[in-house]
Amino acid sequence: MEPDTNNPSAPQPTADPAPNPSSAGHSRRVFLFKLSLLLNGAVGAVMAVPILGYLLGPSLKKPSAENTWIDIGPIADFPEGETRLVNFRNPVTTSWDGQTGDIPCWVRHISGNSFQVFAINCAHLGCPVRWFAQSRLFLCPCHGGAYYEDGSRASGPPERGLFEYQHKIAANRLTIFAGKMPTLAAGNCTKPPLTHIQAAPAEAALSPETDRPQPKDSQWPA
C-alpha cells in the first residue's frame, strides 16, 4: 500500500524519532487521555441502559400482568365432594417451552357452586403436592408438608396453607386466574401465613407425644 499522504495523522518522516515532550505537550496528552476515559465512561453508561433494561426486563413486570382467566373445564367434570387434578396450558408460553408450559392444579368441588382451586406447588418450596382422597390430605414428597382438604396447613415445614387460584364460574364452566408460578412473593397468598411462635398450651404437658393443637379450628372433630 502506498502511504496515505492525505492523512495528516500519518507519521511524518520528519518527526523526531525520540521526542522529548515538553511539559505543556505532556499535560495536553494527559488531559486528552483523561477526556477519552470520560468519553468511554459516558458511552458505557449509555450502553448500560439498554443492557440493564434487557437483563432486568423480566423482573420489572407486574405480577398481575401475567395472570389471565383460564377455562379449565365444565363444572360437570368435577363431582361434588371430590378433588381432582386438572392440567391447563399456561397463558404465557414460548413455542419452545414444550411440556413445561402445561401446569397442573387441584380442583376441589365442595358443593353447588362452591369450589377451591389449589396450586400444585407446595407452599414450602414448590414441590408437587399429591392428593390422598382416603385420608383427605395433600402430601408433599420433598419435605413432607401436609395439608387438609381445604388447603390449610396440617403439618410439616410449610408456613401456610396451599396457594389458591382465584376462580369464577361462567356458563357452567370453571375459570381460574393463573399464569404465574405461585410462590410466597407472587401474590397468590389469600390467607396470611400461620404464626408458629406460640406458647404450647398447658394441656400439652399432659401428653408428651402431642404438640400444640392445630390452629385450624374447623378441622377439629368436636
Partner: protein, 496 residues
C-alpha cells in the same frame, strides 16, 4: 535424526522469538520450592485444575449435541445416551467429573485450612479460593438444571421458592431467575448461559489468578509446630527455607501431582464406565406429579436442612446463615493471618473441620433416604405383617384395614416397612393409652395431621383397637399414671 531434532529446535526457536512464552513458562515450572512441600498432601489443587480441564473438554463435546431448549433438552439427553456413539460415556464423565470436582475442591480447602496456608501472605489466595468454591458449587447446580428432567424442573421450583422469600425484592428476583412467569424455555436458556459462559468465564479467570499467586508467593511450606508466621519475618524465613531446602517444582515435586491427577482421572473414567451417567430422570413435565424430586449429591445436605428447620426459623436461616458462613470464610485469613500454622497447635481449627464434616456428612446421609418424607405408595405396596394379625378379633383386623386404607402407613412403619416420618407403631400400645391414641389420631399434633375429618366413628374405633394390639410382642400396655395415683377407693374402671 539429528537433523530432525535440530529442525525441531529451530521451529521452537522461531516461535519463541515471536511469542517469548517458553522461557518464563520453563522458569515457572522449575522454580524452587521447599522440599517439604513435595508431599502427597499437596496434590489436591493441581488435581482440581486437571478435572477443570476435563470438565471443559467434556462440556464442549456435550454441547455439540445438547439442545438447550425446554422442549428438546431432555430428548437430546436421551439421544446422547442411546443414539450417539459413546454419548452416554461423555455424559457420565462430565457428571462424575462434577462430583469429583466438588469433593477434591473441598478436600483441597480442608488441607489448606489445616496447614494454615491461608495465613500471611496468602490471604488473597484463600479469598479467591472461597469464590472458586462458590463458583464450583454454582457449576454443579446449573449443570443439574441443564440435565432438564423432573429433578431439574422441581429443583428450579425449590430455587424459585427460596428466592421468593427474599424480603421486598423476592418477586423481582424470581422473575429474574425464571426469565418469565413460570419455569419454562427462558429459564433453561438462562441457566445454559450461566453454566456455559458466565460461570466458567469467571471460574477460569479466577483459577488463573489463584495459580499466579501460588507462583508469585510460593507454595505454603510444611508447617512446623512452634514456627509462627509473622508479617515482619515471614518473607525472609520463607526465602531462607527455599534456598536451604529448595528443589525444582518440575520434576522433583510435580511427579506426585501428576501421579495423583492420573489416579483421579482413572477413578472418574472408572466411575463413568461402571455407574454410567446421571439421569435424566422423568421428563420435565409438571403434570407428572408422581415424582419425589431430589437434588444432586452436593446439595443433599441443604435439602435435609430445609426439612428439619422449624418453619418460623426457615426464612431467616436461609438468608442469614449463608451470608455469615461466606463472610466467615472470607474474613478468616484477615482475622487470623499470623501465628501458628500447625494443626497440632490449632485444636479449634481441627475441631471445626471435624464438626463441619460430621454435620455435612450426617445431613447428606439423611438426604439420601429422606426419613421426613411420607412414602407415597407405602399404603398400597407394603402389606401388614401376618404376625400382627394372628389371633385378632374381626374388629381389630378391620382396624388394620383402616390403618392401611387411610394411608397411615405412608408415615408410620410396621414390621420395618412404611414411612419414617412418624414413629414406627410396632409397640405403640406400650407407649400410649387408648385415650391418648384416640386424641392423637383425631386431633393430630406433634407434626401429625388431625384425622378427625377423614375417619368415621366406627373407623376410629376399629383403628384404635388395632393399634392397641401393637405392643411389640409382649410389652406391657401403657397405663395412665395419673389413674394409678388416685385413692384406692376409686375402682380401676374407666370413668373420664
Amino acid at each position: 535424526m539429528a537433523s530432525l531434532k535440530q529442525r525441531a529446535v529451530a521451529v521452537y526457536g522461531w516461535f519463541e522469538q515471536r511469542l517469548g512464552l517458553g522461557t518464563p513458562a520453563i522458569e515457572a515450572a522449575t522454580h524452587e520450592v521447599p522440599s517439604s512441600t513435595s508431599s502427597w498432601w499437596y496434590v489436591f489443587g493441581s488435581a482440581a485444575t486437571v478435572i477443570l480441564v476435563l470438565q471443559v473438554v467434556t462440556g464442549i463435546l456435550l454441547a455439540l449435541v445438547y439442545a438447550p431448549t425446554a422442549s428438546n433438552a431432555w430428548t437430546s439427553l436421551e439421544f446422547l445416551d442411546h443414539n450417539v456413539k459413546l454419548g452416554w460415556y461423555l455424559r457420565a464423565m462430565h457428571g462424575w467429573g462434577s462430583d469429583f470436582m466438588v469433593a477434591i475442591v473441598l478436600i483441597h480447602m480442608v488441607q489448606v485450612f489445616l496447614f494454615g496456608a491461608y495465613k500471611f501472605p496468602r490471604e488473597l489466595t484463600w479469598i479467591i479460593g472461597v469464590f472458586l468454591l462458590l463458583l464450583t458449587l454454582g457449576m454443579a447446580f446449573t449443570g443439574q438444571v441443564l440435565r432438564f428432567d423432573q429433578d431439574a424442573y422441581w429443583g428450579l421450583g425449590i430455587g424459585a421458592s427460596i428466592v421468593s422469600r427474599v424480603p421486598i425484592i423476592g418477586g423481582a428476583l424470581v422473575n429474574l431467575m425464571l426469565g418469565g412467569p413460570i419455569i419454562a424455555g427462558p429459564t433453561l436458556s438462562r441457566f445454559f448461559a450461566l453454566h456455559v459462559f458466565v460461570i466458567p468465564g469467571i471460574l477460569l479467570a479466577l483459577v488463573g489468578l489463584h495459580l499466579l499467586m501460588v507462583l508469585r508467593l510460593g507454595i505454603n511450606e510444611w508447617p512446623m509446630p512452634g514456627r509462627l508466621v509473622s508479617k515482619k519475618t515471614y518473607a525472609e524465613d520463607y526465602h531462607k527455607l527455599t534456598v536451604k531446602t529448595g528443589i525444582p517444582f518440575v520434576p522433583d515435586a510435580a511427579w506426585k501431582d501428576a501421579v495423583f491427577a492420573a489416579a483421579i482421572m482413572l477413578a472418574i473414567m472408572a466411575c463413568a464406565f461402571w455407574f454410567g451417567p446421571f439421569g435424566p430422570s422423568g421428563q420435565p413435565d409438571p403434570t407428572i406429579i408422581q415424582t419425589a424430586p431430589k437434588p444432586d449429591f452436593a446439595f443433599l445436605w441443604i435439602y435435609a436442612v430445609l426439612a428439619y428447620l422449624p418453619p418460623s426459623l426457615e426464612t431467616p436461616v436461609l438468608f442469614i446463615a449463608p451470608v455469615l458462613i461466606i463472610a466467615a470464610m472470607l474474613l478468616l485469613p484477615l482475622v487470623s493471618g499470623e501465628g501458628e500454622k500447625h494443626w497440632s497447635r490449632r485444636p479449634v481449627a481441627v475441631l471445626m473441620v471435624a464438626v463441619i464434616a460430621v454435620t455435612l456428612g450426617a445431613f447428606t446421609r439423611l438426604g439420601m433416604y429422606t426419613p421426613w418424607s411420607p412414602v407415597m405408595d407405602a399404603w398400597t405396596s407394603n402389606t401388614i405383617p401376618a404376625a400382627v394379625l394372628k389371633d385378632r378379633t374381626p374388629l381389630e383386623r378391620e382396624g388394620a384395614l383402616v390403618f392401611q386404607n387411610k394411608q397411615c402407613r405412608n408415615c408410620h412403619a410396621i414390621g420395618g416397612a412404611g414411612g419414617m416420618r412418624g414413629p414406627a407403631l410396632d409397640s405403640i400400645a406400650s407407649r400410649m393409652t387408648e385415650d391418648q391414641i384416640i386424641r392423637q389420631v383425631l386431633q393430630g399434633g406433634g407434626n401429625m395431621p388431625a384425622y378427625g375429618n377423614a375417619l368415621s366413628p366406627s373407623e376410629t374405633t376399629a383403628l384404635v383397637h388395632f393399634l392397641l394390639t401393637l405392643r411389640g410382642g409382649h410389652l406391657a400396655p401403657a397405663t395412665d399414671a395419673s389413674q394409678q395415683l388416685l385413692p384406692s377407693t376409686t375402682p380401676p374402671n374407666k370413668e373420664q
